[in-house]
Amino acid sequence: MVIGIFLAFVLFIVGLSFKLGKQTKTSSGYFAAGGQIHWFVNGIAFAGDYLSAASFLGICGMIATTGYDGFLYSIGFLAGWVVALLVIAEPLRRMGRYTFADAVDAPFRSRGIQLMAAISTLVVSLCYLVPQMVGAGVLVEPLLGLSYRWGVLMVGSIVIFIVTTAGMASTTYVQFLKGGLLIVFSLVLVVVVCLRGLSTHPPGSTDHPYYQHRILHSAGTEALRIIEPGFRLIEEHDSKVGRFALLEEVNQEIARRCWWKVDTANTGLRLLEGECVVVSTGTGSRRINGMPASDTNHLRPVGSIASLKGETNAQTGPLSPVGILAALGHPDTRVLTWKEGKFNDKAGDHVTFYYPVETPGDRLLRPGMKFKLEGTLLERLDFASLMLALFLGTAALPHILIRYYTVPSPASARKSTLVAIGSIGLFYVLTLFMGLGAMTNGVLNPADSNMAAPLLAKSFGQLLFAFISAIAFATVLGTVSGLIVAASGAVAHDLADRFLDLRLEEKSKITLGKAAAVVIGAIGIALGIMFQGMNVSFLVGLAFAVAASANLPAIVMILFWKRTTAAGVISSIGVGMIASLTLILLSPDLYKLYGLDPSTAPVALTNPGIISIPLGFLMLMVVSLLTKRGERHAHN
């Protein structure tokens, strides 16, 4: 059934693209849907474009694993739309034609701006493509049983087909459909979460009943002497990631060896059972929880409530959304969140161990689990940097900006932004409840937070799982389509037609746009495979920082500072883009991806916005003031 609904959805989208493709004859039709999309359709398509894998998969996953800190992304992503509506929407619509480059170049007619804006569009679109592709791979793996790589390849191919058949017209309707369905089914999911209520014994998913992880006790306070019979201590590992013990269960038919987390409790030492993956350095074979990995032996779902308002055996029954927040946020509620520890054992094998941590409810529903707000100045700056990038990034995303050119007038641009804020705002409120639902219903994959929302749906049955998964897949398709249209517009319109002045015929321009879509799609597929395993919201946060650093200073200053010059715009786009990319590439999280020690990263900040965004503004102002007066443009 899951595969049936999924395939029906994909076939419908592909069929729609094919039909609309026959009607697309001009470059205006291909890149901006002829500027004739109704503002309401455009508003929902905005939501479909914007509510990407980061919003649906990433934010829900982050809330499910880090509580309120994931919700900060929802707040920041929506706040960005206020900037888009109040500052950017109408003026940009008045200035532009198809692309972001059109708008920033309008007052100057500068080839330098055309080149830099096109490069920036390509870079930001590619940065944004990566998390979408990661989300696609993660989704397809459990849905169709395909490997991550094949999942990314399949999504990339379908999107390339959609974009090359009909461009912006098909992309708009795919996004409209997906945006509407996403909001409706997210609402359905939250309603069933509320009707189920909260329990200290969650049901788990349909194919994986909830497993209660065990706790063992030690007689010693320093050395381990396990009280419970049937366990033998094999070895211990003590490092900065924590203290772990390898135990053999001697009562089993086959003696199983698993790692346990050594924890200091009020009563002395205790050992917490977790989920364990051991990869042999010699053979590369994987053992999960002491047995060889297979289709039937994989990580068990996790995430549950240890005590609800102090009760260790509680079941609330149906609750209102406020009731869920009040019960979970109660100081005596304890939720089991999961942490990861990585180390090498004595044999040199790589151990990844996921273990539960009892987190108080009032700690969970305020910032601080992911972002160290009571930590060092640098850690606080990192948080401020992220919030700044989220606030300013939306209004600078090329694939969002081009949607202002698909409506007939500036007033339509404003009204469609209004619809977008309403629908996106509703969705972001829902993410809080979907994330908390996934956190407490025993459905989470400890190794990958991105699947939190679909796995939550799975706990309510295969039908809801099928719909949610199909919509999540469409979420990726819709956003990736928009990104590829924006990037292909940058190549065919900004670079070839305007910068290189090739004066292409309509047909040639569309052909070039389609060829660019294929190449950009292929690059997106390759990058998606490279970034496997990273949280998609985190990756999108970085894309926002690049967009806000490279594009926003130019847009804002052209609109509001009369002394802005072409040289100032060129330098701010270039410096903002290079600075943000450099800071990201040298950051601790990327060092982790390279397989290096994150503490040796030359840049301590994970989010670059707080440095690169002001730098972009500063560069524009300094260069504009230094360049000759004659270059200054006349404002309207």
Binding site: E90, R363, A411
Partner: protein
Amino acid sequence: MHEPQIESGKDPAALYKSRLGMRLFIAYASLYGLFVAINLVQPALMGIMVLPGINLAVIYGLVLILSALLLALWYDRLCRREETRLGNPPKSNTIRGED
């Protein structure tokens, strides 16, 4: 081919809308900035219970989302009123033929 194909007619309310947008933006940015500042300077404040089981962080976060919508509705209403007062805004674009 190299001139804007989609042109909007002159909008007499443009200046009003631009100024209004900037004022409302400053108001919202202040609300957002205060949220970030509290988290940076006094993060413990976010844990204060405003309603039973519901702390300031949750309330503030939801207020930021809801106020974005209310602000957008208000802005649109004021813009429409000004557009009507000064004469109809451009309903649609002039779409030039492809060259």
